[in-house]
């Protein structure tokens, strides 16, 4: 499943690129979101085992090796929720900042520097 890994890492790079080049704050948050999706894909790949099935037991327990690793899935679950929570918070910051200055350009918010 290297394909997924590659996609994930490419998405992360795209996110980095966006974070460095975009001046619109909403786009910066979108970049973070893109990076996070990429990262989560990498994380899922890390737990993937070829031929494994979802880690849900049935009444008749089958061969153990036939499951994918459940731990990364649990971690990704947490990561997704945390990521969305932080992004929402950042958007709240943006809304409030926009209310102050009416701009989404990050360059308009350099009050504290040096």
């Amino acid at each position: 499943m290297k394909a997924v890994l590659v996609i994930g890492l490419l998405l992360m790079l795209t996110g980095f690129y966006g974070l460095m080049t975009r001046r619109n704050m909403i786009k910066m948050v979108l970049s973070v979101a893109i990076t996070e999706v990429g990262l989560q894909m990498v994380m899922i790949t890390a737990g993937f085992i070829r031929g494994g099935t979802a880690p849900i037991l049935t009444e008749d327990i089958t061969e153990l090796a036939s499951f994918v690793d459940p731990v990364p899935q649990a971690l990704v679950l947490t990561a997704i929720v945390i990521g969305v929570a932080v992004n929402a918070l950042m958007l709240a910051f943006i809304i409030r900042m926009y209310g102050k200055r009416g701009s989404l350009d990050v360059r308009d918010y350099t009050d504290s520097k040096w």
Partner: protein, 1052 residues
């Protein structure tokens, strides 16, 4: 034992419940909130005390009922207990401080705060790497929102930047964590660490290395390392000070603890890279801080610097190259925690962000005192924890061969001292630049109480560490106890305080002096006796003089401790106490802001040289110096000798390193000037005495170290005299004169023979007497006339005859002519130099003595002779206590002049037998290989000569005629500025022209250039912090690349 799980239960349970309390009775939410924080704090203290007293073992807490690595576990060991206790205490205090603001913002802000605290506890306690991530997120998210507590644009922007940086860090962290999980199959930190090692050589290593790099990278961002820290600076800058305090103090500690857990996972290859990153951050942040004008951001730079230093300590400690690094780290951390929080809190109280306006705090002596205390702690002055930590750090680094590290750390510390005390200078002396100067800083009671609590806690920790670190800590504590005791008398009349101080010094002297012998006896008698006389002189004070007596007593006490010290640490401890207390005394002068800062920076630099010297010598250089010359061991290496000598040269204001001295000596309050220039300047002499005793004659033959120092002494003597002659300001004149006089002492000591040492010690006492006398007399004159410019005076002989006599006696003694004490000193010195074969130096010293006539003459002539100014026709004699002190000194001068043996015999005894005995006594006559001196006879002869001359003069001179001062006989009009026609105006201009080639203040220019260069570098580098979030993101990534390169370099 209460399991620390309750920390989380309390925090979460209460946080979840708080919204329901919103409508409840007023104050209910606040009470519950504070109670929850107290509960959390109590749990951690409970663990700390149990662990300290050995009542319990390290606590391992398994959640969910499964053993690790199958479920998340927590651990409370000593380290965890210390960190959580410190953090919880600080955050509890911080919550009390912030309670009004939080309560004003509703229960949501309290929930945020509560979970912020919980997050930090989790970061410290958890042993699971992913759980660590979760707690970091909790801490982070809570801080993002808290930063914007005031909902102003700055705060919001800072919160947004923080969130972006935090998101980046967590992305890299997760990438690292997942790969580590993949190859180790576990998330438990302890199991990972052991398993990571086995992967270093395998095929998996190929893709593990980038992941590990990203993990470390993430934590380095969290540690706010240079240059990936612009966002953090903006956070400190923009948040409410109470919040900045908590982020700077608390989350910094938690992040430090996290990286302490993570680095071993990353592997040894990363220790060095982390350590280098840390020290670069330390130096860079403090350098850039030099240009900072705003308090919040200044503290931000300082915080980041401290983080860097802590990172260095932890990384080197983990690497195994820093023994006792835990002590260093904990000391630095607690010091940073409390002092930084304290300063942020003070910023919140003054509400003033520009440091230039911090004069507002000067009206609140209590707050100013707290500020001074926090400053002292932050800059690593004793007895505060950072002092002990820095000492241990530098000692261990040197013994581990890490000299370059020491250079960087001391350099960074010096920058920090510079900007912190620049700020403090403004606070004490700056006044208020604009706006109403009338507004008094208001602090609510709970805020003031919190600040006091922080200071008290800091002091308690300081006391604890001091007891552990220093030998004979009770004795070493005495100066501090005395000064602290005097604080209790602050509300009394200044005279009462003066008398109490005097009594304290006398009693202290009475207690310790009888038990002493040798050099400690000499210097103690000198410092304490001199101090007592000078204290007497200060009794004329009628102004409030807040803090004056405690600091004076502290200075005298620390000088005494310096002379009593028997280990390097004791010496350095006393040295630093002396530096700090004298700095405050200097700063008390009206125009002393800049000179005091210069004094502080140079003193700190000198002190660091001394510390490095001790470290390079392996710690115990001055052990046994108390035995006097008999303990001379000759067991010193070249490097420590040079470092120590350089440090002491700064203190004695040796030429080139003297730029601080004229200002510091002259701009202090008039009576303080007398003390500082006559007593304090001998601390450097003491240093040289101790150093030369230790070094012995080891360098006299093989190298020219002693002769170099001798030359510096001679040149200092010459230039001191020369500059003194050019001064228009009486105190500046005396200041330069002091610099020159101390040069003689160094020259004498460097001669390394018996006569030289006797000359130096004798001259120390003698210089104390006449310079103290002159400064006090001038103090009296300045007190009455209100000016220090000599050309504005004149004719005061009628109004102030007693002072005139003082100055007369003083200058006779100073200029080294018979019959007074100065002569003996000079005579001995020339003997010593000739014996040593230093003819050129002797010639230079002799020439300097002649130059000294120029200014001596001027002092008496310009001030006392000639016509009195109309304004000064009615002034009175100097205050009685000043006169009394002067006449005690005059009596002493007379006594020692007539019977030099009273002084010289004991000094010869103290100098002892190690040198070849060259001086002998026959009755009252002192014989040297080159001649003899009978003080009494000389006195008689000179007196007789003068009497005869006086009689002749009276007989032959015509009747004197009185002329008004501005009676211009030869011109038709009155000059517009009469002062310039005063004959004392630019009296020595011809000489100035003649010497213009060498009078160019090259040293001043050099040091100015150094200062400007540092500021220019700071000004340039700080532009990377453009405030643009996008640029910060790029910087974070660039930092990643740099870190990577660093780690490769470290691995190879």
């Amino acid at each position: 034992m209460v399991t620390p799980i309750y920390i989380f239960i309390i925090a979460l349970g209460i946080a979840f419940l708080l919204p329901l309390l919103e409508r409840a009775k007023k104050g209910a939410a606040e009470t519950v909130f504070l109670a929850a924080l107290s509960g959390i704090a109590l749990i951690s203290w409970h663990w700390l005390f149990s662990l300290l007293t050995g009542r319990c073992e390290i606590g391992e807490i398994f959640t969910a009922g499964f053993r690790p690595p199958f479920s998340i576990n927590l651990r409370v060991g000593m380290e965890e207990a210390v960190f959580t206790s410190a953090i919880n205490l600080a955050t509890l205090a911080g919550a009390v401080y912030l309670i009004r603001e939080l309560s004003g913002r509703g229960t949501k802000s309290m929930m945020l705060y509560l979970l912020f605290v919980m997050g930090m506890n989790g970061m410290v306690l958890t042993r699971d790497i992913f759980n660590l991530f979760v707690f970091m997120e909790i801490t982070g998210i809570a801080s993002y929102a808290l930063v914007a507590l005031r909902l102003d644009t700055k705060g919001l922007t800072a919160g947004f930047k923080y969130a972006i940086a935090g998101s980046l860090a967590s992305i890299f962290m997760l990438l690292g964590i997942i790969v580590i999980y993949m190859i180790t199959g576990t998330l438990n930190i302890d199991s990972i660490a052991s398993r990571m090692v086995s992967f270093s050589g395998t095929a998996a290593a190929g893709f593990v290395a980038p992941a590990v790099f990203m993990l470390v990278f993430a934590f380095m961002i969290e540690m706010k390392q240079f240059p990936a820290n612009g966002w953090a600076l903006d956070v400190y800058d923009s948040a409410a000070p109470g919040i900045s305090a908590m982020i700077s103090a608390g989350s910094a500690g938690a992040a430090l603890f996290a990286i302490y857990k993570i680095l071993p996972i990353a592997g040894e290859g990363w220790y060095m890279a982390a350590a280098i990153t840390g020290s670069v951050t330390f130096v860079a942040a403090n350098l850039i801080g030099l240009k900072q004008e705003r308090a919040g951001r200044l503290l931000g730079y300082s915080s980041i610097g401290q983080m860097g230093l802590l990172l260095t300590v932890v990384s080197l400690g983990l690497k195994g190259s820093l023994p006792s690094w835990q002590l260093i780290a904990v000391g630095l951390f607690i010091n940073h925690l409390l002092a930084k929080a304290g300063l942020f809190w003070l910023t919140g109280i003054t509400g003033e962000d520009r440091i230039r306006n911090w004069g507002v705090i000067a009206r609140r002596p209590f707050l100013l005192m707290m500020m001074g205390l926090f400053m002292a702690a932050l800059s690593g002055f004793p007895p505060f924890p950072a002092f002990w930590s820095k000492w241990t750090l530098v000692m261990s680094m040197f013994s581990g061969g890490m000299k370059v590290w020491v250079v960087f750390i001391l350099l960074g510390s010096l920058f920090e001292v510079a900007y912190l005390f620049r700020w403090f200078g403004y606070a004490v002396r700056g006044g208020v630049e604009d706006g109403e100067s009338g507004d008094i800083v208001k602090g609510t009671p709970e805020k003031t109480a919190v600040i006091f609590f922080g200071a008290a806690l800091l002091t308690a920790v300081a006391y604890y560490m001091m007891g552990k670190m220093i030998d004979n800590s009770t004795l070493m504590l005495m100066p501090l106890v005395g000064a602290a005791g005097l604080l209790l008398f602050e509300r009394f009349d200044p005279r009462v305080r003066g008398i109490v101080s005097l009594a304290a010094v006398l009693y202290y002297g009475y207690m310790i002096i009888p038990g002493l012998s040798g050099m400690p006896l000499f210097f103690n008698s000198f410092f304490l006796g001199g101090g007592a006389i000078m204290l007497l002189a200060t009794l004329h004070r009628r102004t409030a003089s807040r803090g004056f007596y405690p600091m004076l007593l502290l200075m005298i006490g620390s000088l005494s401790a310096l002379a009593l010290s028997s280990t390097s640490l004791q010496f350095f401890y006393a040295w630093e106490l002396m530096t700090f207390s004298s700095y405050i005394l200097v700063l008390r002068g009206k125009k002393a802001m800049k000179p005091a800062l210069l004094y502080m920076v140079f003193s700190a630099a000198g002190a660091y040289l001394v510390m490095a010297g001790f470290a390079s010598a392996g710690g115990t250089v001055f052990g046994g110096a108390g035995d006097g010359i008999a303990g001379m061991s000759g067991s010193l290496q070249m490097l420590p000798f040079i470092l120590l000598a350089a440090g002491f040269l700064v203190k004695v204001a040796g030429m080139g390193l003297h730029v601080w001295a004229p200002g510091a000596y002259a701009e202090a309050e008039d009576d303080s000037s007398a003390i500082i220039s006559s007593i304090l300047s001998k601390a450097g002499v003491l240093g040289f005495v101790f150093l030369f005793i230790k070094a012995g004659t080891a360098f006299t033959g093989s190298t020219y170290l002693y002769s170099t120092i001798g030359w510096i002494g001679a040149i200092t003597a010459f230039f001191g005299a020369l500059y003194a002659a050019m001064q228009e300001d009486a105190k500046k004149l005396l200041a330069w004169s002091s610099i020159g006089q101390v040069g003689y002492m160094i020259l004498g000591l460097a001669a390394m023979n018996q006569i030289g040492w006797v000359a130096a010690l004798y001259h120390s006492v003698s210089h104390f007497m006449f310079k103290g006398l002159l400064f006090l007399a001038v103090a009296g004159v300045v007190y009455r006339t209100g000016t220090r410019n000599m050309y504005e005076m004149g004719g005061l002989i009628k109004r102030m005859p007693m002072s005139f006599i003082s100055v007369m006696i003083g200058i006779i003694a100073l200029s080294g002519v018979p019959p007074l004490t100065g002569f003996g000193g000079k005579w001995l010195l020339y003997n010593a130099l000739i014996e040593r074969g230093w003819y050129l130096q002797a010639a230079l010293a002799f020439f300097s003595s002649t130059v000294a006539f120029l200014y001596c003459f001027r002092l008496v002539h310009a001030i006392f002779l000639g016509q009195a100014k109309p304004a000064f026709r009615k002034i009175k004699e100097a205050p009685r206590s000043l006169i009394a002190a002067q006449y005690i000194l005059i009596m002493a001068i007379m006594m020692f002049s007539m019977k030099p043996s009273i002084l010289i015999k004991p000094i010869m005894g103290i100098v002892g037998e190690r040198f070849d005995t060259l001086l002998t006594w026959q009755a009252n006559t002192l014989y040297s290989p080159f001649g003899y001196w009978n003080g009494f006879a000389v006195m008689m002869v000179v007196c007789a000569l003068f009497a005869i001359l006086l009689v002749i003069l009276l007989l032959i001179s015509p009747k004197p005629q009185k002329v008004k001062q501005f009676n211009i006989v030869f011109a038709a009009e009155r000059p517009e500025t009469p002062e310039t026609t005063h004959y004392a105006w630019k009296f020595f201009t011809p000489y100035e022209r003649a010497f213009s080639g060498i009078l160019k203040p090259a040293a001043t220019r050099f040091w100015n250039a150094v200062g400007e260069w540092a500021e220019a570098v700071a000004a340039m580098s700080r532009h990377i912090y453009s405030g643009n979030t996008g640029a910060y993101v790029v910087q974070i990534f660039i930092f990643g690349i740099l870190l990577f390169i660093l780690s490769r370099g470290g691995l190879s």
